[in-house]
Amino acid sequence: MKLLVVEDDRETAAYLAKGLGESGYAVDQASDGREGLFLATGGGYDAIILDRMLPGIDGLSLLGALRAADIRTPALILSALGSVDDRVKGLRAGGDDYLVKPFAFSELLARIEALLRRGQTPTATTRLHVSDLEMDLLTRSVKRGGRSIELLPREFQLLECLMRNAGHVVTRTMLLETVWDYHFDPQTNVIDVHVSRLRQKIDKGFDRPLLHTVRGAGYSLRAPDSVLLQPE
């Protein structure tokens, strides 16, 4: 997996390159908008991490130019501008995800992985599987080992999000954004209790748990015996 990091702050860029490199990605760097646009147009990247405020061409214009040229490489915008307005602007310009600085590296990693997978899982799918856990998106029913599990609507959405990202880390922020459409951090960690309720329903009575807490990052739903997936 090859990533392009367009970031003018040298320290942040180095930190990103190091972290992403250690997580198994090949990383190219550009320190201004022009260079970033040049490299991104050259193609061959699986995702782009883009700072908003850049010398030369700013991040949003760069993205606009890329999308205008019909280059659909998934892009994650990194920005210190964190209001909902800024977020909306970023996504309208063609960004696929928006992360506000400062951020936890685990959050960035989880989001990049989700971005990379977005192209792979067909959205038209009607059934999701993780090990012996099955979800039918049409009848909105969930079964594990043939046994039916009753879920509240939110729990269903929570599980769907985890199943779509099976094998990968999903952060609390990602869950809040996807399931509740909340773009702020509640002061108290409300997600944990929801997840533990869900865990009660899908893991209780089974020998091998599917839903795991990833310390300092979030949660991951994965088949027993499998390890947390890392990019190849």
Binding site: S83, D85, Y182, T188, V193
Partner: protein, 500 residues
């Protein structure tokens, strides 16, 4: 993260006001600067206005005086002519009836008459020899052609010889005899001179009064402008509590001063708030920074034990995250207060927003032993930003969970409700916690305000500040009430009209 510009922004208005008011501020008064001082006085609006009024005043006074002079002089002249005409007519009648001898007779008789009436008569022969009249000889310098003429006569009054001006008419009677009828006009001239003097004096008086009045008026105006300027200068110099003195007359200057004072009040309030925030930021961030530093130091000392080192680093990251969360909260409050999100306003179901938030918090509340109830009678629509309103509701539930006591039976009830209260959308969050004493109900909205001084309860003390900012952004208000026991937070918003 708070830009320097943002912190400095409230200072800007004072500076610009001062720049504008500085126009007429006399800064340096040494003698060498007299010329520029004069120029500056000329530049002042008050002075120019006074000068203009003075010029108009002088012109109109001069006009009035000249008119009075001209009409009175004209009147005297006409009177003289009318008298002369009447005399001549009378004499002509006598002559027509009795010839030359009758004329001489009547002239002689009239010449004897009242010396005070200042009439002059003289009948002479062809060569100027007097036959009758009150002149001893033909007046020197008088023409001998028929018609009106001016001349002078010598008089002897109280032993003093005097020359008087006179006006008259010369008529040549058939046979070459001459008749001169005239009038001593020295009285008229004296009257005219008096009028002239009176007018000149009253003109001068008016000029002096006008000058003095103008000076007084402009000085008065300038002084009041000066007061404003001096106050503005002192405010710029740092004395924010200074105010422009009011006279209580309610005139334009009082209104101006009142408005400026209102502006200064507002600025002072903002500055005080800002200072409080800065102090609180400094205080609330110093503690976690100190902890962060200590943890990192410990991690460094831990050395050999990687587990301990990891734990210390993790704790340090958590600490940093909490500080970042505080900064983010501060920033969003600032953004909301600055009106961010107003343009994103859309029709929203308030009950739906509260239901979602309640649903998000319900498992947590239950885990902590609270019972979270939500009552909503009907759909209540408002216009607003979903995300901000959700955050406000989340903060309120969070507070209720934090300060209420979940394990104490009925005290663990948290009640949320949304209803239409006489045309206003009303949202209430009520708990049975310790509540907030009445005296503290205003201050808890301040940033970093927390009731207990030890600040031992987790939380950044920004929750209610954001709630109020969000309420105000939506044209609403927030109120803290007694829930007897506990706290009831009541938010009111304008109901969206026509939205379904």
């Amino acid at each position: 993260m708070i830009g320097k510009g943002a912190l400095l922004a409230p200072y800007l208005p004072i500076v610009t006001i001062a720049e504008r008011l500085r126009l007429a501020v006399p800064r340096d008064r040494p003698v060498a600067q007299m010329r520029s001082a004069a120029q500056r006085v000329w530049k002042t609006h008050a002075f120019r206005l006074a000068a203009l009024y003075f010029a108009v005043f002088v012109l109109s006074v001069l006009g009035v005086l000249f008119f009075v002079y001209w009409t009175s002089a004209d009147f005297v002249e006409r009177q003289t002519e009318a008298t002369l005409d009447a005399e001549i007519n009378g004499l002509a009648e006598q002559y027509a009836q009795g010839g030359l001898s009758a004329l001489i007779q009547i002239v002689a008789a009239r010449s004897q008459g009242n010396p005070g009436d200042s009439m002059i008569y003289l009948v002479t022969t062809q060569d100027g020899r007097p036959l009758a009249g009150n002149l001893t000889n033909w007046p020197a310098g008088a023409a001998v052609t028929p018609g009106p003429l001016s001349f002078t006569i010598q008089t002897q009054a109280k032993g003093q010889a005097a020359t008087h001006p006179a006006r008259g008419m010369l008529i040549v009677i058939p046979d070459g005899y001459r008749l001169l009828v005239g009038r001593d006009i020295s009285d008229a001239a004296r009257f005219r001179d008096r009028v002239k003097m009176a007018l000149i004096w009253s003109g001068l008086l008016a000029l002096v009064a006008g000058l003095a009045g103008g000076a007084l008026m402009s000085r008065n105006m300038l002084r009041r402008v000066e007061q404003v300027n001096r106050t503005a200068e002192r405010v710029v110099a740092g004395n924010l509590s200074d105010r422009v003195p009011l006279r209580g007359t309610g005139d334009e200057f009082d209104q101006l001063a009142g408005n400026l004072n209102g502006m200064l009040d507002q600025i002072e309030r903002l500055m005080t708030g800002m200072r409080e925030v800065t102090d609180n930021v400094a205080h609330d961030l110093k503690t976690p920074l100190a902890r962060l530093r200590a943890r990192l130091e410990l991690a460094l000392l831990g050395g050999a034990d990687p587990a301990a080192q990891n734990a210390a680093i993790r704790a340090a990251i958590d600490e940093a995250d909490r500080m970042l969360a505080t900064f983010n909260a501060l920033l969003s409050i600032a953004e909301v207060e600055a009106g961010a999100g107003r343009e994103r306003a859309e029709p929203l179901a308030l009950d739906e927003i509260v239901r979602n938030a309640a649903e998000l918090y319900e498992p947590l509340a239950e885990e902590r032993g609270f019972a979270l109830h939500f009552d909503s009678e009907a759909r209540v629509m408002i216009r607003g930003d979903r995300n901000l309103l959700s955050q406000a509701v989340a903060n309120l539930i969070d507070n209720a969970l934090k300060y209420g006591d979940g394990r104490a039976g009925r005290r663990g009830d948290i009640r949320l409700s949304v209803h239409d209260g006489r045309g206003r959308a009303v949202l209430e969050v009520a708990d049975h916690g310790p509540g907030i004493p009445e005296s503290e109900r205003e201050t808890v909205f301040n940033r970093f305000a927390r009731l207990e001084p030890s600040r031992s309860t987790p939380g950044n003390g920004l929750g209610l500040s954001l709630v109020r900012a969000v309420a105000r952004l939506h044209g609403g208000a927030v109120e803290l009430l007694d829930n007897d026991p506990g706290l009831k937070v009541r938010l009111e918003f304008p109901i969206a009209v026509g939205a379904t």
